[in-house]
């Protein structure tokens, strides 16, 4: 595996940090401010895109920022998995920025400058997590993300926001300081290094019990992955404005959580160690429980965003499940699902927000017949939900397919059952809503029959992401190729 040294990863992170002063200065002129955000998002995406050919060749890019502790530096490394995640989040930032404009201006929200600034900081931290070379750097950007997203979650500054903010901090910072930090330091004491490597670095350093305990500390410590029982922050965080929920809680924050879990399982422990200690089995059962419970709870939800939140909780555990299967196809499926789920879920959240901007409605029971009024939005919603369920013609089908193959490869039959049942449950909570939105008795319709969509800045992004979800089925590159490269470097297959 060749490595080259380049400052590009650092630049990708810094772009959105450096734009923050510009945003503050142009706060009084909203159009200039929004233009700065777009510029930063575009530059970030281009820098990341420029590194893709190198990564697809099998090379890795490294850059050391500071040697802070002997044996552990703040260091960046771009490999296939990190590139996959970075591509997803940076491309979606551009789309979300457009959507934010429509949403925030449509609702005449306050403190928009603060919103865009912390959004930029959160994206910096996300790319930082994607490009971390070791556990310390990962922890650094993980914490930065936690604190950068707090003002976004509590944007509305009312009592509900305050209590949701408390829950957010309690779950996310409490687990990272209480579990991840000691686990990281114990790992350092055992191994003397924290750098991720393709076969992990903890092999042969400690007793079986200690390593198993560390594994679970990391698994539950990254509470952004919303593995039960540390999931309650996610529905509570839905009080945030919808673009925040969309990007952060469908794409950036939660994906950071599962990315960290996947990174630690593969880069710190390594598949060989996990297989020899038989740790894959508890992991997939914990993930399966979250999948089933999340889907079941989603069935009972009336508030659209809460339904989507529980759906997200379940979908995230698919990724954990994929990694936990420890089989090449399973891990490919899990990593690919990061991309597929992101595009699908963000479409759904965009639609929920568009509905709120156009009609002010939040609950499904109040949205009967809404397809007549907002056909484009609901069509996109339909496509997004197909992707989440895992049906063609949407990209989610590919990742689910790989997960099924992966569970067969790992000889885990019950998981097959879990995957199929949860797909049925997903259909059960999405399809009735879509059906009732389009086909209902004229007297039940709650809206007039004329088309009145949300502002263009809201509708165009969701159409774009829905279209990409469909395209991804037919052309899942570069994500599939990146996932395959990563799995190959881990397992050699």
């Amino acid at each position: 595996m060749e490595t080259i040294i380049s400052i590009k990863p650092l630049l990708a992170i810094l772009v959105s940090l450096l734009v923050v002063p510009l945003l503050v200065l142009s706060g009084k002129r909203p159009n200039v401010r929004e233009a700065c955000t777009f510029l930063a998002a575009a530059v970030k995406f281009l820098i990341i895109l420029s590194m893709v050919p190198v990564i697809l060749n099998g090379t890795q890019i490294v850059y050391t920022i500071a040697e802070v502790i002997p044996g552990v530096a703040i260091k960046l490394r771009v490999d296939a998995f990190g590139m996959l995640f970075a591509l997803v989040s940076s491309s979606l930032w551009i789309v979300t920025s457009a959507y934010s404009i429509g949403y925030m201006r449509g609702l005449k929200e306050h403190s928009q400058t603060r919103y865009f600034c912390f959004f930029a900081l959160a994206l910096s931290a996300t790319i930082g997590v994607a490009f971390s070379a070791n556990l310390l750097t990962l922890y650094l950007f993980y914490e930065m993300l936690s604190f950068a997203t707090y003002p976004l979650v509590t944007h509305h500054q009312d009592r509900e926001a305050r209590s949701s903010g408390r829950k957010y901090l309690l779950y996310i910072v409490g687990t990272s300081i209480g579990f991840v930090l000691p686990a990281m330091l114990i790992s350092y004491s055992l191994a003397g290094t924290l750098d991720f490597s393709s076969q992990g670095f903890l092999a042969g350093t400690g007793s079986k019990t200690l390593i198993s305990i560390l594994c679970f500390m990391f698994l539950f410590g990254f509470a952004k992955a919303a593995i039960m029982p540390f999931h309650s922050w996610l529905p509570a965080a839905m009080v945030a404005p919808t673009p925040v929920s969309a990007l952060l809680h469908a794409v950036a924050v939660v994906k950071v959580g599962v990315f960290c879990v996947a990174r630690v399982l593969t880069g710190v422990f390594g598949t060989d160690l996990l297989l020899s200690l038989n740790l894959g089995v508890p992991i997939i059962y914990i993930a399966s429980f979250t999948i089933m419970a999340g889907s079941l709870i989603a069935l009972s939800q009336d508030n659209l965003k809460r339904l989507l939140a529980f759906s997200t909780i379940a979908q995230l555990s698919y990724i954990v499940l994929g990694i936990g299967l420890l089989s090449p196809k399973g891990m490919t499926g899990g990593m690919l699902h990061i991309a597929m789920h992101a595009f699908g879920k963000i479409t759904l959240f965009f639609c929920a927000g568009a509905i709120f901007v156009a009609t002010g409605k939040k609950n499904i029971s109040e949205m009967i017949g809404i397809g007549r009024r907002m056909p484009v939005t609901m069509a996109a919603f339909f496509i997004g939900s197909l992707s989440i369920i895992g049906m063609p013609p949407c990209g989610g089908f590919i990742s689910k397919w790989y997960l099924v193959l992966g569970s067969l490869q790992a000889h885990q039959m019950p998981i097959l059952f879990v995957l199929l049942t949860s797909s049925l449950l997903n259909a059960a909570y999405f399809m009735p809503f879509v059906y009732k939105a389009f086909f209902c008795r004229p007297e039940d319709a709650m809206f007039e029959n004329k088309v009145q969509e949300a502002p263009a800045f809201c509708v165009v992004p969701l159409v774009i992401t829905a279209t990409i979800s469909v395209i991804l089925l037919f052309y899942p590159q570069p994500f599939l190729r990146l996932a395959r490269i990563m799995v190959q470097s881990i397992t050699g297959v």
């Binding site: 920022i65 500071a66 040697e67 802070v68 502790i69 002997p70 530096a73 703040i74 609702l107 005449k108 929200e109 306050h110 403190s111 310390l136 922890y139 650094l140 914490e143 930065m144 604190f147 003002p151 509590t154 509305h156 500054q157 009312d158 009592r159 926001a161 305050r162 903010g165 408390r166 901090l169 910072v173 409490g174 300081i177 209480g178 930090l181 000691p182 330091l185 114990i186 350092y188 004491s189």
Partner: protein, 496 residues
């Protein structure tokens, strides 16, 4: 000139204190520039000394040319070479930042205030730079007495709180003096290096044991190590902001330095950790100190008092880290001297800014501060991150070494206490942030109806604060250099 840095360091602030007190009668406006010049020279000398130590190794400076053990020698090695610039720079930044606050709070006592300020810095710098045990007592008392004077200038409760501090502080210093007396009886010398040379054959004697314990208790009293901490919260809370942001970051850290100096240089680690069997007990005391500091801080509804309890907990970190007995723990303790001085300076300067504008520091006074004073609160956020221990601020890295030291020593109770303290700090600071950010609650969201715009403290108070906040991050990123080039050599090689 650079050979005279050790003397300049102490003499310049001392003499300029005299000049300032005279200038105070003649023309009040001269006091501040003279004080700034004096502390500038002191900071310059301190940094120069550190660079010379890095270049040439340990420096021994004989005052007046008299040789030890009869003469007093200033002894600068890697340990105090690191602490000296910290003390000098903290005092310097604090002086500049608090100019307006001093003028606001006691405009008729500017001369006396700066005199006491300069004498206090003289005392603190002298404690760090000296190599003579009795000279340390003298400078300790200089720092203490001027500290009492500074702290008493404040609210109505300040004189009584300071009087209580005075009793405890005097008892502490007297204990230290007694311990030095015992050492003198058995060795006949007062020079630290000399005593260390003469002590090893006497390690088993009761007198040396008694000397060590008595010195330790005295130093613990002066650094507010639980349960000898009761004087600190009241004394620091009711004082005026310029004094509390000078004393809170520095006095306890300098006392920790004295403790580490006694452990590493005078009574070597062989005696302290091997011959005595006290380390485990002291680390458990430190655990209790950390937990109690955190719990007592939670009970306060007053920002400044909450911060003083955090200081008590931080003292627990450093004492526990030093007494773990291994290299990582001692590195953590020494690194934390630097880091905690900076973090405490940052948060107390924030309180100073808040008091200047809002004239109060209880939680009720803090409503809506994120909107009114964004730069000050931004610095508070960074200071809070450092106290919680979030990378890349410096507080994280000293916690790293302390926890790794605890793991190596098998002392999981200490590790648990440090993690507990981090989590409690999150609660403590976010309680404050919630009040500053959410309250007063707007009637309904979605409208830009927050009353009032920015009402920030003056530039001369905000810019130094922001500089300190940036330093917190820079020191964090440069931890590797600090540990590898300085602290590593401050700890004897015999410590593993």
């Amino acid at each position: 000139m650079s050979e005279q840095y050790p003397a300049l360091l102490v003499v310049v602030p001392l003499l300029s204190a005299l000049v300032v007190s005279i200038a105070g009668w003649v023309n009040k406006r001269l006091c501040f520039p003279i004080a700034v010049a004096a502390l500038g020279v002191a900071a310059w000398s301190a940094v120069g000394l550190l660079l010379r130590v890095l270049d040439k190794g340990v420096i021994v400076y004989k005052l007046g040319g008299w040789s030890p053990p009869m003469g007093i020698a200033y002894y600068i090695d890697y340990l105090n070479g690191l602490v000296l610039p910290v003390v000098a720079i903290v005092a310097f930044i604090n002086l500049i930042a608090n100019k307006k606050a001093v003028e606001q709070q006691f405009p008729d006592k500017i001369g006396p205030f700066y005199t006491l300020y300069l004498l206090m810095v003289t005392g603190l710098l002298g404690i760090v730079v000296t190599g003579d045990a009795f000279n340390l007592y003298v400078l300790l008392e200089i720092a203490a007495l001027t500290g009492y004077g500074l702290l008493a200038m404040g609210e109505e409760r300040a004189p009584l709180a300071t009087l209580n501090y005075l009793y405890m502080g005097t008892i502490g210093a007297c204990f230290y003096l007694l311990g030095v007396g015992y050492l003198y009886i058995v060795t006949g010398s007062l020079n630290m290096v000399d005593i260390a040379r003469l002590l090893p054959p006497l390690y088993q004697s009761k007198a040396v044991l008694a000397a060590f314990i008595i010195c330790m208790v005295g130093v613990w009293l002066k650094m507010a190590f639980f349960p000898l901490h009761a004087w600190l919260p009241n004394a620091y809370t009711y004082a005026n902001s310029a004094a509390s942001s000078l004393i809170a970051p520095l006095v306890t850290k300098v006392m920790i330095y004295v403790m580490i100096r006694l452990i590493l240089t005078v009574f070597t680690p062989e005696f302290v950790f091997t011959t005595l069997a006290l380390s485990n007990a002291v680390v458990w005391l430190a655990v209790i100190a950390i937990v109690m500091g955190a719990v007592l801080a939670l009970a306060e509804r007053n920002l400044k008092k909450m911060l003083t309890y955090i200081v008590v907990a931080e003292v627990g970190y450093m004492v526990g880290g030093a007494w773990l007995g291994n290299r990582d723990g001692m590195t953590g303790a020494i690194l934390h001297i630097v880091n905690d001085a900076l973090m405490t300076l940052c948060v107390f300067m924030v309180v100073g800014n808040i008091v200047y504008k809002v004239k109060g520091y209880a939680f009720e006074d803090l409503k809506g501060l994120f909107r009114k004073m964004p730069f000050t609160m931004g610095a508070l956020v960074i200071g809070a991150m450092s106290i919680i221990g979030v990378p890349p601020t410096c507080g994280f890295f000293s916690k790293w070494y302390l926890i790794v030291g605890a793991i190596s020593a098998g002392h999981y109770g200490f590790m648990a206490a440090l993690i507990f303290s981090s989590m409690v700090s999150v609660v403590l600071f976010f309680r404050v942030f919630e009040i500053c950010y959410f309250e007063p609650f707007a009637d309904h969201h979605g409208h830009d109806n927050h009353p009032g715009g920015m009402d920030e403290a003056p530039v001369s108070m905000v810019v130094p604060l922001l500089i300190v906040a940036v330093i917190l991050i820079l020191v964090g990123l440069y931890t590797g250099d600090i540990v590898n080039h300085v602290i590593q050599f401050a700890i004897p090689e015999t410590m593993v």
